[in-house]
C-alpha cells in the first residue's frame, strides 16, 4: 500500500490540528490562572500573580490536597497488593472461572463511574448500614485501581522467564525467598508504574468519590467542583486546576518511562 503525499499531508494536518485542540483548553486554564479578569474574559485584560498567592494561602485548599493524597496513597497501596496477587494467579494458573475473574477486574472501569459509585454507596449505606467516611472512599478507590496494577504486572509477567523461579527453587530457596530475590526484582518497575497510575487515577477521581466519601471528606476534585460555581472563585480554581494537572502528570511521565524501558 502506498500512501500518497497529499494523503500524508492531510493526515499530518489532522494530527496537528487535533493535538492543538487537545492542548488549547489546558493552556487557556494556565493563562487564566494569571488573568486579571475574574470572569474568564478573553483576551485577558491584564496579568497578575494574585490568584496563585491566594490559592496557596487557603487552608481549605491545602486540607483538600492532603485528603486527596492520603486517599490516593491508601487506595493505591491496597490496589498494589490485590493487583499483584491477581496477576500472579492469572498468569501462572489455568482454572475454572479464570475469565470471570478477569472480567471482574475490568468491570469497575468498564462500567460508568456512576454505577460503581452508586453500587458501593448503596452497599455501604443500605446493606451494611455504614456511615460514609474516608475509609469507604478508600475502599471504593482501591476497587477501581486494582486494574491498573494488574495490567502492568500481568504484562511484565508474560515476558519474564519462569525458569528463573524454578532454578531458584532447585537451589533450595523457599517460596518467599524466591519471590523476594527473583520475582520481585523482575516485576519491580511494573509495580512502580502500576502504583503511580493507580495513584493518579485515585487522585483525579470525582464521581465515585462523590458517592462514597462522607460529607466531611473534601478531596481536591470535590473542592474544585464546590468552588467552580462560586462567584469570583474562578481564577483560584484555575490555579488549582494547573496544580492538579502537574501533580498527576509528573508521576505519569515516570510511569510511562518505566513502562517503556521495560518493553525494550
Amino acid at each position: 500500500m502506498r500512501i500518497s503525499n497529499s494523503a500524508k499531508i492531510f493526515l499530518g494536518t489532522a494530527t496537528g490540528g487535533v493535538l492543538a485542540i487537545i492542548y488549547l483548553p489546558l493552556f487557556i486554564v494556565l493563562i487564566n490562572s494569571f488573568n486579571k479578569s475574574m470572569n474568564m474574559y478573553w483576551p485577558p485584560p491584564g496579568f497578575t500573580f494574585d490568584w496563585w498567592a491566594k490559592a496557596f494561602g487557603s487552608g481549605g485548599l491545602l486540607a483538600a490536597l492532603g485528603t486527596s493524597v492520603l486517599i490516593a496513597i491508601c487506595s493505591s497501596s491496597i490496589a498494589l497488593v490485590l493487583g499483584t496477587l491477581l496477576a500472579l494467579a492469572l498468569s501462572r494458573y489455568k482454572f475454572f472461572g479464570k475469565q470471570a475473574v478477569g472480567l471482574m477486574v475490568i468491570l469497575p472501569i468498564a462500567l460508568p463511574g456512576i454505577v460503581t459509585g452508586l453500587a458501593l454507596n448503596n452497599a455501604f449505606r443500605t446493606v451494611l448500614g455504614l456511615q460514609l467516611s474516608m475509609a469507604t472512599a478508600i475502599i471504593a478507590h482501591a476497587t477501581f485501581c486494582v486494574v491498573t496494577v494488574y495490567n502492568n504486572v500481568l504484562a511484565r509477567l508474560s515476558r519474564t522467564n519462569r525458569n528463573l523461579e524454578d532454578a531458584s527453587a532447585d537451589l533450595g530457596a523457599g517460596l518467599f525467598t524466591t519471590f523476594r530475590l527473583v520475582t520481585l526484582p523482575q516485576i519491580g518497575s511494573a509495580l512502580i508504574a502500576g502504583g503511580l497510575l493507580a495513584f493518579a487515577l485515585s487522585f483525579d477521581e470525582i464521581i465515585v468519590t462523590t458517592f462514597t466519601a462522607g460529607s466531611g471528606v473534601e478531596t481536591l476534585p470535590i473542592w474544585i467542583l464546590n468552588n467552580m460555581f462560586r462567584p469570583g472563585k474562578a481564577p483560584v480554581v484555575d490555579v488549582v486546576a494547573v496544580t492538579t494537572v502537574l501533580i498527576s502528570i509528573v508521576p505519569l511521565y515516570f510511569a510511562q518511562r518505566l513502562a517503556k524501558e521495560d518493553s525494550k
Binding site: 489532522a14 487535533v18 483576551p43 493487583g83 494467579a89 475473574v101 454505577v115 452508586l118
Partner: protein, 303 residues
C-alpha cells in the same frame, strides 16, 4: 541423610515456619493458586460484584413514604416508570444519543491520527505524538471539563475566535457538553486504535498492493478487519464514560440533564435509592449488552 549432606558440604536448611508454608505450597500447587487468588477475589467479589447485585435488587425495593427509609418490599413501579415517565424516557434517549454521537465523532477523529502515528510518522515523531496524547489523558477529567467552561463562555476564547466569522460559541448547552465529552474521551479512543494499527505488519500491506489492491481496498479489507477490535475497545471507553456522566453536563451543559444527573439527584436530594438503582440499570444493561455483543471480536483483551 542430614549428616551425609553436611559431609558433602551442603548446608542443611533450617525448618522455619516460612519453610513449612513453602513446602506445603510446593506439595499442593492448587493451594498456591487458592492462596494467591483468595484475597483479591474476595475483595472484588464481596465489595464490587455483591454491591452490583444488591443494586439490581434495590431497584425493586420501596421507599417508605413516612420515614424516607428504604424498605424491603417488592415494587416494580421504579422500573416501569423508566419506560413510561416522559422525563426518564427523554433523558435516557438524549443520553444514549449523546453517547453515540461522542463515540462516533471520537472514532472519526482518532482514525486519521492513529494512522498517521503508526504508518506515516518516523519513530521519533511517533514517540513525541504518543506522549503528547498520553499526558493530557491523565490530566484531571474535572480540569478538562472546567477548561471548556472557560473556552465556551460568552466572553471566552471560542467566541473571540468565532465572532469575526459571524458565528457564536455554542455556550453552555447540550452541544457544549457533547463537544467537551468528545474532547475528554478522545485520547482513550486514539490509544487503543493506535495500538491495533501497530500490530498490523507492514508486509501485509505490501502483499495487498502487490496483489493489485488500491489503497482504499487495502484499508477496507486488510486494515479495517484487523483493527476492528481496537476500535471497539476505544468505543467502550467513550460510550460507557459518556453514558454515566453527570459532572460535565452540569459544568458546560447549562440546565440540561443526562441520566447521571437523575441518578445523582435521586441519591442526594430526593433520597430515593431504589429509583436511583432503577435508573442505573439503564447504563448497566446497555454496557453488558454491548460488552457481550463485542466479546467475540476479542475487543475486551484490548482494554
Amino acid at each position: 541423610m542430614k549428616n551425609e549432606l553436611s559431609a558433602a558440604g551442603v548446608t542443611a536448611i533450617a525448618v522455619t515456619p516460612a519453610r513449612r508454608v513453602s513446602s506445603f505450597f510446593y506439595k499442593y500447587p492448587k493451594n498456591r493458586l487458592r492462596a494467591l487468588i483468595a484475597l483479591p477475589a474476595l475483595w472484588l467479589g464481596l465489595v464490587y460484584v455483591a454491591a452490583l447485585l444488591m443494586l439490581l435488587v434495590t431497584a425493586f425495593w420501596t421507599v417508605d413514604e413516612f420515614t424516607g427509609n428504604t424498605r424491603v418490599a417488592l415494587n416494580f413501579d421504579n422500573v416501569i416508570s423508566l419506560f413510561t415517565d416522559p422525563l426518564y424516557t427523554t433523558v435516557t434517549l438524549r443520553t444514549i444519543g449523546i453517547a453515540l454521537g461522542v463515540t462516533i465523532a471520537d472514532i472519526t477523529l482518532a482514525l486519521p491520527i492513529a494512522f498517521f502515528m503508526s504508518k506515516v510518522a518516523g519513530p521519533k515523531l511517533k514517540t513525541i505524538i504518543a506522549i503528547s496524547i498520553l499526558l493530557p489523558l491523565w490530566a484531571s477529567y474535572l480540569v478538562k471539563a472546567y477548561a471548556w467552561r472557560s473556552v465556551l463562555s460568552d466572553k471566552g476564547i471560542l467566541q473571540w475566535l468565532l465572532a469575526p466569522l459571524g458565528l457564536n460559541t455554542p455556550g453552555y448547552s447540550l452541544w457544549g457538553a457533547a463537544i467537551t465529552l468528545g474532547y475528554i474521551w478522545l485520547p482513550y479512543v486514539i490509544l487503543p486504535i493506535y495500538g491495533g494499527l501497530e500490530k498490523v505488519p507492514g508486509n501485509l500491506l505490501e502483499a495487498s498492493s502487490d496483489l493489485g489492491a488500491k489503497t482504499f481496498t487495502t484499508l477496507r479489507r486488510v486494515i479495517f478487519p484487523m483493527i476492528l477490535p481496537s476500535i471497539i475497545a476505544g468505543s467502550i471507553f467513550a460510550f460507557s464514560l459518556t453514558l454515566g456522566d453527570y459532572i460535565t453536563i452540569s459544568i458546560v451543559g447549562g440546565p440540561n440533564q443526562m441520566l447521571g444527573n437523575l441518578i445523582y439527584s435521586n441519591v442526594g436530594t430526593a433520597n430515593n435509592l431504589p429509583m436511583a438503582a432503577a435508573l442505573a440499570l439503564v447504563p448497566i444493561a446497555i454496557m453488558f449488552a454491548y460488552l457481550a455483543s463485542v466479546k467475540r471480536t476479542g475487543a475486551l483483551d484490548n482494554l
